[in-house]
Amino acid sequence: MEISVSLSSLLEEHRDELLSDWAEALRSATTRRADLISDEQVRVEAKQFITLLARATRTGTADLEGSDWDELRGLLGDVSRSRALAGFTPSEIATFVFSFKEPLFDLLSKAAADGGNAQALLADNWRANLLLDRLGLYTTEVYQSAREEIIRRQQQEMLELSTPVVKLWDQILAVPLIGTMDSERTQVVMESLLEMISETSAAFAVIDITGVPTVDTLVAQHLLKTAAAARLMGAEVIISGIRPQIAQTVVQLGVELPEVTTKASIADAFALALRRLGWTVSRNEKA
Amino acid sequence: MEAELLERLRLDREEDVMRVRQAARRWAIDLGFGLVDQTKIVTAVSELARNAFVYGGGGYVTAEITHVRERSGLRITFEDQGPGIADLELAMRDGYGTGEGLGLGLGGARRLMHEFDIRSEVGKGTTVTVTRWA
């Protein structure tokens, strides 16, 4: 799709006029979001948009991936990302671009009325329309990836907070797994457990799976690898909280649990670890 | 898929194997890999660099950042002009202490990395390329 070169000069000549029309439209729009962004900021961005659009259309190519469009894409990317972070919806962001159509159409109509080539200007308007559609959609794409990045970061933070490793006793650690454990989450938890074993020189680590509704093969494998890694380091893992249903599933999956001690409850696991470390628990006689 | 060259190192002497390991740690850190991933990368690199040096007579190690859509990764290539491997399948089999396979550590390196590619021609040499996604 080619754009006529006259569009570029038109944008440059009438930039200020376009800017004030557009800024007015943006200010009175229902999607204005004055709570999230200042008029001044909007005006600055609008001015840059027109300037860069004029520059980009100078050579007449409409290949948005090309180098002519790098600067404008850069601006839209920044605008989109900063507004995404501020809390704008994708429609609100795209409206920034789409709302330019009306002032541009007004300008082209006036140019036609002033004795310009109406046919050519009509074609220009149509092409500009298509172009602005694509630019508006581009802001939506940038918005998507910005949101995905935020979500990924939040998930990571939640992972780290949600399964704390606790110290039950000198040299005995425990980590209660709660909720559905997917492969990635299990891996993160197991790595921090092993790191804690190293830091605290814990001889025993109890992994309690009472709060895990189902254990699939991947999760079972992670548990086994963790037990093997702990053994390599010189510590021992005890898995507790294996319910009858999980025991059946594990057997059906064909996963063997060789050399890993298992106990029905975390209390049993704790008692075992204490015994192995040479402790005895006794109750005082009542006075 | 685009790739950016990070570093290209020669693998001629025993000291080079160590240099390559240290470089691998740096590349992994620079690309933002966590500690466990760094360790996997350095270990895989150690296996493959040793192979290229001991069995392949030396060669080159090339590190690149590779991008596929949204993902970026560390891609490392080991090239030697050594005798080449006649039986790739046998070479890939693990041989730690059992006498099977050739103890080349190829299987191990494959398990530690996300992508693994090996090309070898008897009399010409061997090229191994591994990638780990960030």
Binding site: E191, L194, E195, I197, S198, S201, A202, A203, K225, A228, A229, A230, R231, L232, M233, G234, A235 | E14, E15, V17, M18, R21, Q22, R25, L35, V36, Q38, T39, K40, V42, T43, S46, E47, R50, D94, Y96, G97, G103, G105, G107, G108, R111, L112
Partner: protein, 126 residues
């Protein structure tokens, strides 16, 4: 190639491995330990690998080899201080490291060795 010093602590030999263990240093270590076991009539060997930020198949085989040759010479071996990232990687790598006893740190390693080795050889003063 660097030479790793072998220290004598009573009836045990203690070795601390720093980072960047190259192949020839590892081979030399195995030789020095076997010589040391015989020379000092050592009953145990403690290898501290807390300084290693990775262990590949060659280093793994070296540790297994040291444990085997030491046992033939009548000494037990304990490897201590393996980092968690290293342990995780070794499991992924699939190296068994069978026959190598491990402990979390030097202190536990010494306790383990004492337990394994018992109360001295016959013919010693006690």
């Amino acid at each position: 190639m660097n030479r790793i010093p072998v220290l004598r602590m009573g009836r045990f030999l203690l070795v601390t491995v720093q980072m960047d263990l190259d192949d020839s240093t590892a081979a030399q270590l195995e030789e020095d330990l076997t010589t040391g076991i015989v020379k000092h009539r050592a009953e145990g060997v403690l290898i501290d690998i807390s300084g290693l930020d990775f262990v590949d198949s060659f280093i793994g085989r070296t540790l297994v080899g040291i444990a085997s040759s030491s046992r033939l010479l009548g000494a037990e071996t304990v490897v201590v201080g393996m980092r968690s990232a290293v342990a995780i990687t070794l499991i992924e790598l699939g190296i068994a490291m069978n026959g190598v006893r491990t402990a979390l740190n030097v202190e536990r390693g010494m306790e383990l060795l004492s337990g394994l080795v018992g109360g001295g050889r016959p013919g010693d003063g006690g």
